[in-house]
């Protein structure tokens, strides 16, 4: 529980907050490792991404008057709450290793794919995962004494 705050009424977790976006050509585990080892304080990290999805749109062929389907592309952007990684609080080296394993390309995309498959709304409309456009990494830095509060 965090009960600290300053005289303006802002809790301290709002002070050092970094929002980093990378294009999809980076090595995500290495990037996360660099962030976790080099940024000061106790780190809370959320990894998510902008991605493109494919879906089917119902249509009617005007010539033959038969129902057809058109493949459509849409962009999905990260919600403020959602995150792909399970380990969010980084306290030990083991946490960083877990984060690296969770954010490997295969595991990361598989999780995205599963999220779409398990969502009833997208399941009905047959929305499919296409590719990652860019990674968005949300880092909160707490003061070092945060775990003791």
């Amino acid at each position: 529980m965090i009960y600290g705050g300053d005289k303006f009424g802002n809790p301290p977790q709002h002070y050092n907050r970094y929002y980093i976006t990378c294009l999809n050509d980076v090595d995500l585990p290495q990037v996360l490792d660099d962030i976790c080892t080099n940024i000061n304080g106790v780190i809370q990290i959320y990894v998510d991404c902008f991605m493109s999805t494919l879906g089917d749109l119902n249509a009617v062929d005007e010539l033959t008057n038969e129902p057809t389907k058109i493949e459509t592309c849409r962009i999905m952007y990260p919600n403020q709450v959602s995150h792909i990684n399970d380990t969010t609080e980084i306290l030990t080296r083991q946490d960083i290793d877990n984060l690296r394993s969770e954010c490997k390309f295969d595991a990361f995309t598989a999780k995205l794919h599963n999220n779409l498959q398990n969502d009833p709304f997208f399941k009905v409309s047959n929305v499919r995962f296409n590719r990652v456009l860019d990674y968005s990494i949300n880092v909160n830095c707490f003061p070092p004494g945060w775990i003791y509060k």
């Binding site: 705050g5 980093i20 294009l23 962030i35 000061n40 962009i75 830095c141």
Partner: protein, 162 residues
């Protein structure tokens, strides 16, 4: 008849009490043995309220600085003013060096993705170019504010003194 019956009952009860007494004494002895084996022996630095209350009331200046730092008030427990600004500056220099600004080339997006990105009907409330322009404006605004911040603070302090 009555007297004889009463005498037998007293004998019985006496014998019964004797037996019970021996049983109770046996149990007590056993209990003592067991408790002597499993007795809790507190260590020397065990939480003792007498010791705590007898602790040092007259703190040395070093200890005073450590437990009650001057910069910290009851309202300001976020380490923002002194140590965290240094840390955040270091973070920002690291992040700027590690993540230089990189714009995607024209081939980065597929054609269908471009259509979706700049489509006003779906996804974002406004097309992304709107938010990007807003971000740039905000950055410029905060840079200007940081230039004038010191002047504003001084003027407000002067007002209070008057």
């Amino acid at each position: 008849m009555a007297s004889s019956s009463s005498s037998t009952s007293t004998n019985e009860s006496r014998q019964y009490r004797k037996n019970m007494g021996s049983v109770i004494s046996f149990i007590r002895k056993k209990r003592k043995e067991v408790r002597s084996k499993t007795a809790f022996e507190p260590p020397e630095d065990f939480v003792d309220f007498e010791k705590i209350n007898n602790s040092d009331y007259a703190l040395s200046p070093e200890k005073l600085n450590f437990f009650y730092p001057v910069a910290k008030t009851n309202m300001n427990w976020g380490y923002t003013s002194d140590s965290m600004t240094v840390a955040s500056k270091a973070d920002v220099t690291f992040l700027k060096a590690r993540f230089p600004l990189k714009r995607p080339g024209p081939d980065y997006f597929e054609d269908r993705e471009k259509e979706a990105l700049f489509d006003k009907r779906f996804a974002l409330r406004f097309p992304p170019i709107y938010y990007i322009s807003k971000l740039i404006k905000r950055e410029r605004y905060f840079n200007e504010i940081n230039l004038f911040r010191t002047g504003i603070q001084n003027s407000s302090n002067d007002l209070w003194r008057r």
